[in-house]
């Protein structure tokens, strides 16, 4: 499993914290197994629970590495897709509050695509 970028230094308390799930390539973790910590200049996805920590990859990225974020919807959930400039194309964070998460990103200066994309089960990068 590829890490986006190692930013696991001590960043203090996150500005916002959301619980949800994650689709990263073919890997899928359902809600509420993943937590999203939002900091001033970066975000971090990791396991919500200690017992699943070894099973869920930690993903971190600076906002400067993000092309845009947008809401996605699928038959089994809603979420936000975060598209990156290079490396990993995107990651989906499953959440029941996609608008709330998007607003937080927007306030932090991340470009938000206002269109809701349909999530394709077999082609998550689309």
């Amino acid at each position: 499993m590829q890490r986006l970028k190692s930013l696991d230094n001590n960043k203090g308390e996150p500005l916002h914290l959301f619980r949800g799930g994650m689709r990263y390539g073919s890997f899928n973790a359902t809600m509420p197994l993943v937590r999203m910590e939002i900091y001033l200049d970066s975000f971090r996805l990791s396991s919500t629970f200690r017992m699943t920590r070894k099973l869920i990859p930690i993903l971190t990225a600076n906002y400067s590495d993000i092309t845009y974020v947008q809401a996605v919807s699928s038959a089994l959930g809603t979420g936000i897709r975060i598209r990156f400039i290079s490396g990993v194309q995107s990651v989906v964070f499953w959440t029941s509050k996609p608008v709330e998460v998007l607003l937080v990103f927007q306030k932090l200066g991340v470009e938000v695509n206002p269109e809701t994309a349909k999530f394709h089960f077999s082609d998550p990068e689309r």
Binding site: G21, N28, T30, T52, S74, A75, G77, T78, W94
Partner: protein, 244 residues
């Protein structure tokens, strides 16, 4: 002999074990060697006389044992072999089913599972389940509900088998043809799977023989939380259920 059928008796519900006919999906006819079922799932049908050759399962309401679509085969269909969609009897039959399902729904909403199970004549219940696999795996569940005779039950199931890499916990329900708790208390062969995104939904089917030689089937469905390296999982194996 090859008999041509028109669309009025074509259905997709073929009986796989029926040795007398085969369905040609790209043509509009059945190839037949003898009197056949028009892919009716309940009765056998003779195309040469446009009538059924086995008794109507709903004889009590139709009062006609062998008639096909109320003697009106050109304008009517009978895909299940139970009633013509143009007949009053058919709509009475459907209405009875709707009423029965509604009664069961109301009983369930009132929390009266034994009454609902008795009305339905099937086992119904709720379950908490979980499983993990990495090539080989295990599943487990605890369920509570009522069997077809209205008797409440509590069951614990454990199973071992194979499965794609995954780990999940779920909440859902079961449905079975078991009439008594003892019919449910036995070993089953199961196969199941789930597909996940924000949440994952799964289903499982199990089948086994009760001590009284009756074939018992159990179906279950659940909403799961879990992890999987691919967004779906499947599993199969042998399980054992203890009922209290």
């Amino acid at each position: 002999m090859e008999t041509l059928f028109d669309s009025r008796i074509r259905t997709g519900s073929c009986v796989a074990t029926d040795p007398c006919r085969s369905w040609s999906p790209n043509s509009k006819h059945f190839r037949t060697t003898t009197l056949v079922s028009p892919c009716s799932i309940n009765r056998y049908y003779d195309p040469t006389t446009d009538s059924f050759i086995s008794v109507d399962p709903d004889l009590q309401s139709t009062d006609q044992a062998y008639v096909f679509t109320n003697d009106n085969p050109l304008n009517s269909t009978d895909p299940l072999g139970q009633c013509s969609l143009l007949s009053w009897n058919c709509w009475t039959f459907i209405a009875k089913k709707v009423v029965r399902v509604s009664v069961v729904a109301v009983e369930l909403m009132n929390g009266n599972a034994p009454a609902a199970a008795k009305t339905l004549g099937k086992t119904i219940g709720g379950c908490l389940s979980g499983g993990a696999a990495f090539g080989i795996g295990a599943i487990g569940s605890v369920c509570a509900g009522a069997t077809g005779n209205g008797m409440p039950f509590f069951s614990v199931t454990g199973g071992v088998g194979g499965g794609s890499p995954s780990a999940f916990l779920g909440v859902g329900g079961i449905f079975s043809n078991a009439q008594t708790p003892s019919e449910l208390s036995k070993d089953f062969t199961y196969v199941g799977g789930s597909v996940g995104e924000g949440l994952s939904v799964g289903g499982e089917g199990a089948i086994g023989k009760a001590p009284n030689k009756k074939t018992i089937w159990v179906g279950s469905g659940s909403v799961n939380v879990g992890i999987s390296p691919v967004p779906f999982e499947y599993h199969a194996g042998e399980s054992w259920t203890w009922v209290g």
